[in-house]
Symmetry: C2
Subunit: 357 residues, 2 copies
DNA sequence: TTGAAAGCGATACCAC
DNA sequence: GTGGTATCGCTTTCAA
């Protein structure tokens, strides 16, 4: 246990036992390459010398394998844990990763222009990357590609050469829109997290909606629009409000933008359940009977949505994660870049009902 | 972009530009060490050759820094994302980590005896470890220590030489116990996740309770016991039931063990909010008026607890995480091993009330 | 079985 | 500014 002096290395142990480094290395990595006795002696010497086994970094370098996959988010890392949808996805990835003894490296990545987004990506010791909520032109995206490691994204990618696993955002959102239209709603509001940039809340103009750099957001808005316009609703009459961030409370506050005005909408479409739950809170505060006075639909079907009896569009987040993980762990040999769209489904519960007269 | 041939290295680029490796290295790592022109030329050559910057692993090896900290759980990795308490803690760690551009490596670690728990720890390229829910004698624990990296645990450690940040489990649980006793409850049940091992549900004997290898569980049980015995309740009359795992639905099922019997308890103490919420579900199913017919108290004060009006003991999970992260990122120089206990607080809401007659 | 030698890809130090 | 040189700690042929 000599905690003093230079840290013990493989060599130190080899010398102490009187064998070569190869043998010590084998003692750890290939037990079948030497006899049990010797192996024991080596371990004992190691213990005595305070050597805890081959250095992880050196081993990675030599082997060319990191034993971890990187998860890249644009949202702050802590956000990744805050949203139940996100958590569901991560669980999926985690499941397949842990099955193969692979670690998950969460890589913080400030939004474009917001500090150093490259260092963490550069220094990530991983065997592959999973991109998640990384907007179109993000500078780090190119860097990640350049690293030449297996890569998969869950964002509708601008680049068809990147493997993708996700859902048909547009068609899925359309399900919710059609449901609302079918119930007779014509005055509709939409709640989004943010269009122009994080933190900015309030109504969003049409231009802003189209300019959003988040493909899934654009896709969902398009889906709502498809459905509503088909039902004869003028999209410019639809109030699109940004909560500023994807949080229940932010959404509850932002809901004032359409709840506290003269011509209150009879239905609200939220592009995520967390936002929808916030709208529910806001309605409750104002004594509105959800499902009668006003209808609310979400997206994702997070666990909480079920409890709140929220009508929503279910997407298989866990499955998405597992698939993404698998794609990274065992990259398919084929030429064709995998582009997988998982099925979604409208789940009608108690928060939507016929439009009040 | 020559995707064919050997992967480009620093050397390749140096040769192409006609400079030494040092210069190329500096171009990436120390921009002030060479003139802008040359730097541009180097980058251009790099781009042309498909070189995306210094290899992360090699750089880590040479620099002796990994740029990540390891989070070690015994529960399956996916569990880490499932429990809101756990998520709160992780968010805390993530906050401080991302502030310094450090990644978080989630390390899967099967419970003792359940597969290979050492490989992942061995191969983890990190600058320090944070242990979380790792039971007393876990084999990997020793290995982690042996790696000689900064280390912090949130489990009441058997080993006072490991930095610790947590709460006084026993005193905190006692708060809940006293609250229940004060309300006049004498027939009490306790819901735990698992004592003997994961997956095993049902009543737990006294011996099993004491034998649990999870220090926080033991601490909380001791706290409940302190309070109840002080109020004259015989601990052996307290039905301790294991849900088998820390999940809302498992708890709801296991609640049958005390809910569907002759002498139903008038109060239930759950060692975590997730379990408490499950008990709430079970009560609702049976048409019991929580807070009147039966009282339920949890532990943690996760976000969901507030919404459910659950009486619970609040612990500062985010703060715990931030502190742990900081301890790892800037290990204190002092001799003294930091052992921090954060304050907790009883939060009385609507799920507890006077014992029915 | 065991050992010697050749890297894995990069960075730090030190003269020039 | 720049370019050698040593080294980081290990794994892997390949021959003995």
């Amino acid at each position: 246990m000599d905690s003093r002096g230079k840290r013990a290395t493989l060599q130190t142990v080899a010398d102490a036992v009187g064998v070569s480094r190869t043998t010590v290395s084998n003692a750890y990595g290939r037990p079948d390459q030497l006899n049990k006795d010797l192996r024991e002696r080596i371990f004992e010497a190691a213990r005595r010398l305070g050597y805890s086994g081959p250095d992880a970094t050196a081993r990675s370098l030599r082997r060319g394998r990191a034993g971890a996959i990187g998860l890249v988010f644009t949202e702050t890392l802590s956000y990744a844990f805050a949203d139940p949808y996100s958590v569901g996805f991560l669980r999926g990835v985690a499941e397949v990763a842990e099955a193969s003894g692979t670690g998950l490296l969460l890589i913080p990545m400030p939004p474009a222009g917001g500090g150093d987004s490259e260092t963490a990506v550069r220094n990530a010791v991983v065997d592959g990357f999973c991109l998640y909520c990384v907007p179109k032109g993000h500078p780090a995206k190119e860097l990640i590609r350049a690293r030449g490691l297996p890569l998969v994204t869950t964002d509708e990618s601008d680049d068809p050469s990147i493997p993708y696993v996700g859902i048909d955002e547009r068609a899925s959102a359309r399900l919710a829109g059609e449901h609302i239209a079918r119930l007779g709603h014509r005055r509709v509001a939409v709640m989004v997290d943010h269009v122009v940039g994080p933190g900015v809340s309030g109504p969003a103009s049409l231009d802003e909606q189209l300019a959003s750099d988040c493909a899934d957001l654009r896709g969902r808005l398009a889906g709502y629009r498809d459905a509503l316009e088909e039902a004869g609703v003028d999209w410019s009459s639809v109030r699109v409000v940004a909560a500023g961030r994807n949080s229940r409370s932010a959404s509850a506050s932002a809901a004032a933008h359409f709840l506290d005005v003269a011509e209150r909408p009879t239905a609200v479409l939220a592009i995520g359940d967390v936002l929808a739950l916030g709208v529910l809170d806001a309605c409750e505060q104002r004594g509105l009977a959800v499902g009668r006075d006003i209808s609310v639909a979400g997206f994702d079907d997070v666990p909480e949505a079920g409890r709140a009896r929220l009508t929503t569009v279910r997407q298989p987040m866990g499955e998405k994660g597992r698939l993404a993980g698998r794609l990274l762990l065992e990259p398919p040999e084929e030429e064709k870049v995998p582009r997988i769209k998982l099925p979604t489904e409208l789940v009608v519960r108690a928060t939507t009902g016929p439009a009040p007269h």
